[in-house]
């Protein structure tokens, strides 16, 4: 679209009463925001659709005249979809600034060659002439009636917290009250969902909007009924690719990290789960989404079992507020990985062989009837390992991310119909089996980062009835990542002992 700057406002070309020079919106360096007219009767339907969002004109079932009228009265904002900073181009919606994700086209809307972002195209094209439209609440904003909410008992939960959880829960509550950032560094199996309940209750009682963002859709689907159950009075919106809750302005939102792109200054408390997980850690743009989705004054809680090295450093230096839950809910220490050299296993594999100590490890588990999860760095290697191991037991299976039988195999493993499951690193998160030993073959491979190895080790000893398990990294040369993973796990156990969180 083309706009003209007239006094303290911009006007779309098609609504101009007399001819004025116009520009594609991205060429207007600062778009004025008219003063808010508090006596203006805004359309509550527009508010319902737009509040806390950043949407395109095409997403709005209202006339341009009505949208412009809300803008002129200060109830609606226009922002540039694409921004130019010298030579770099930035998509304001998804934060993309990687030139390989931009293209341009002769645009019928602005009549110029128009750059567009291909990264977030699926949500509707943002190009250099696209305004992002947002809602502007008056300062004492349209919060739910605080008096009513705070007089109600919102949290209906009778479970109990471990000592480690209780401390973290308190810190989360504090962060919500004081509007700060907090990193919750909780070991695999610590139970991190429950520690959020009190903090969420505090936020809701203050009439705040709360969002939990997590990278995976299955976690959204699992969390939604859980939170609806503990906050029965609160409407909960559940957002993931293909969900129907799109325009739902609920006090509590559970969303995939990806869906955060639709939000703008929406949340007073934003909880970001698995900060380190794919795709968040790889995807700079998702950081941008978090920045956009939170209100300027807001609380952000990051949850992770494996913070990045730079975050770990910031924690140590006191530059980042954090709290750890170094022990599992069942009060047993984390299994510490054993690092075992197994020679050039790749070469042996070419002759359909595996190192003796690896074979011995597998045999011991098979003989004892103890289930095992064995990680390999690549699918092709995994298939070769499978051929070799099946000579030991025909029921051994392998599974990888795109495996069409993935669900079925995981189920069979749960039912103990599979003695040993081979897998690629993709299964490292989320999937838990109660009583297993864990091994990595080829732990020196590049994909086995510190965080991946900590996650892998975290698969063992998960249940209270079987709180122990062996973790073995077979390698052809120790890597820094392996040593760090081991050190981090040992540190957590030490801290847990010191804080009396272990039995």
């Amino acid at each position: 679209m083309r706009f003209a700057v007239i006094g303290q406002k911009v006007v779309p070309e098609s609504l101009l009463k007399s001819p004025s020079p116009t520009l594609p919106i991205s060429k207007i360096s600062s778009i004025p925001t008219p003063q808010q007219n508090l006596s203006f009767h805004f359309n509550p339907e527009i508010q319902a659709v737009l509040q806390g969002k950043q949407l395109l004109m095409d997403d709005l079932p209202f006339s341009l005249e009505e949208i412009q009228e809300h803008y002129e009265n200060g109830w609606l904002t226009y922002r540039n979809g694409i921004e130019f900073h010298g030579k770099t181009v930035l998509c304001q919606r998804c934060g993309n600034s990687d030139s390989s994700w931009f293209a341009s086209f002769p645009c019928a809307r602005c009549g110029e060659s128009c750059i567009y972002c291909r990264r977030c195209l699926i949500m509707g094209r943002v190009s250099a002439c696209t305004p992002l439209i947002g809602w502007r609440d008056p300062d004492a904003d349209g919060r739910t009636n605080i008096a009513i909410l705070s007089s109600m008992k919102l949290l209906q939960w009778t479970g109990s917290l471990s000592d480690g959880q209780r401390e973290a829960s308190g810190r989360v509550e504090q962060a919500v009250i004081s509007g700060q950032e907090l990193l919750v560094w909780a070991v695999c199996g610590a139970g991190k969902t429950e520690i959020l309940f009190k903090g969420i209750e505090q936020a809701l009682a203050r009439g705040q909007r709360v969002c939990i963002a997590t990278p995976r859709t299955d976690v959204v689907l699992e969390l939604t009924p859980r939170l609806k159950a503990v906050f029965p009075e609160i409407p909960v919106a559940s957002l993931y690719g293909g969900s129907e809750d799109r325009h739902n302005h609920a006090p509590l939102t559970i969303s995939t990290t990806h869906q955060l792109f639709r939000f703008y200054h929406a949340f007073d408390t934003l909880i970001v789960d698995e900060v380190d997980a794919f795709p968040f850690s790889v995807d700079e743009t998702l950081r941008h989404a978090v920045k956009n989705a939170r209100k300027p004054e807001s609380t952000v809680i990051y949850l992770t079992a494996t913070p990045s090295r730079s975050w770990q450093r910031e924690c140590r230096l006191g530059k980042r507020a954090y709290v750890t839950i170094p022990a599992r809910f069942h009060r047993h220490p984390l299994p510490v990985p054993e690092l075992i050299w197994c020679g050039n296993w790749g070469k042996q594999l070419e002759r359909e062989k595996l190192p003796d100590n690896v074979i011995r490890w597998v045999k011991i588990r098979l003989d004892a009837g103890k289930q095992a999860l064995v990680f390999a760095p690549k699918i092709e290697l995994m298939k070769k390992i499978l051929t070799r191991l099946r000579k030991l037991h025909p029921d051994i299976e392998s599974v990888y991310a795109e495996d069409p039988d993935r669900k079925e195999k995981v189920m069979k493993m749960r039912n103990k119909e599979i003695p040993l499951l081979l897998t690629t690193t993709i299964l490292e998160r989320g999937v838990t089996f109660p009583d297993i030993d864990v091994a990595v073959i080829g732990a020196e491979a590049e994909i086995f980062t510190e965080s991946a190895l900590v996650q892998i080790a975290g698969r063992a000893g998960r249940s209270a009835s079987h709180p122990t398990g062996d973790v073995t990294f077979f390698h052809y040369g120790r890597t820094e990542e392996m040593l760090r993973a081991k050190r981090v796990i040992e540190e957590m156990n030490r801290e847990a002992t010191k804080r009396c969180l272990l039995d």
Binding site: D58, A103, F105, P106, A108, R109, C114, R118, L121, R125
Partner: protein, 236 residues
């Protein structure tokens, strides 16, 4: 573009393997690869025996001689006979192609036109044509999409689109039956005063569905004196 940044597949954004550039050196290929091998393998060219009018792959139970049943029906009708000289469609409209075209046309991913540029250009050069004409969009539809996909395909192939036609009615055809579409009054009008007598014209569109859009366009061009009107679509 950064010298070291890898070339990326326009469809899946995966890296295009260096191997391919080696292959192109050995085979002395100068063509720039726009898509990776995996995506390329999913674009299925229309091959084998084709209907001599519409270019579809002939299915023995749905044809008579070298014409498919659809074309036989069109050719039986006096007002449509011989309107469209010949259509060539490059690829099968399989699920993959549906996705690519939907992203191109409805999501507005303009640069996907380049996926077809090479093949489109070489095929267009083999069809005798004085003008390459895009199927027009209505003004509202053009604004909505931001560009005309037929025009984008022609420009992408490095050729010059000649806008001889304009829309009269809106494009909202999809809910109408084939019968409605065939008997619809004029959809296009001549936009240009250009003398068409004796000219050969090639129409370009993204998909050949029933052939009625292309035939409507062809008929008006024939009525204006064009000698032959052929067409080219990406998929059918």
């Amino acid at each position: 573009m950064n010298l070291f940044s890898p070339k990326r597949c326009l469809i899946c954004h995966g890296e295009i393997e260096a191997e391919i550039s080696w292959r192109s050196i050995f085979l002395n290929r100068t063509k720039e690869e726009a898509v990776c091998r995996k995506c390329e393998s999913m674009l299925l060219p229309i091959e084998g025996e084709k209907c001599t009018v519409c270019g579809r792959e002939l299915d023995l139970s749905f044809c008579e001689g070298s014409l498919c049943l659809d074309c036989i029906r069109w050719e039986k009708d006096e007002s449509w006979r011989g309107c469209l000289e010949k259509n060539i469609s490059l690829y099968h409209y399989n699920d993959f192609m549906k996705e690519v075209i939907a992203r191109f046309k409805f999501r507005g991913d303009y640069c996907l036109a380049s996926v077809f540029a090479g093949k489109l250009r070489s095929v267009l050069k083999g069809i005798p044509g004085d003008y390459i004409v895009p199927i027009p969009l209505s003004a509202e539809r053009l604004y909505e999409r931001g560009f005309n996909q037929s025009e984008a395909l022609i420009v992408g192939a490095g050729l010059k689109p000649v806008p001889l036609l304009a829309r009269i009615h809106s494009e909202k055809q999809s809910k109408k039956t084939r019968r409605d579409r065939i008997h619809l009054p004029q959809v296009f009008r001549l936009e240009s005063q250009e003398k068409l007598t004796g000219k050969n014209i090639v129409l370009v569109d993204d998909i050949y569905t029933t052939g009625s859009t292309l035939r409507h366009a062809a008929r008006i061009l024939k009525e204006a004196g064009a000698d032959k009107v052929s067409s080219l679509t990406i998929a059918r």
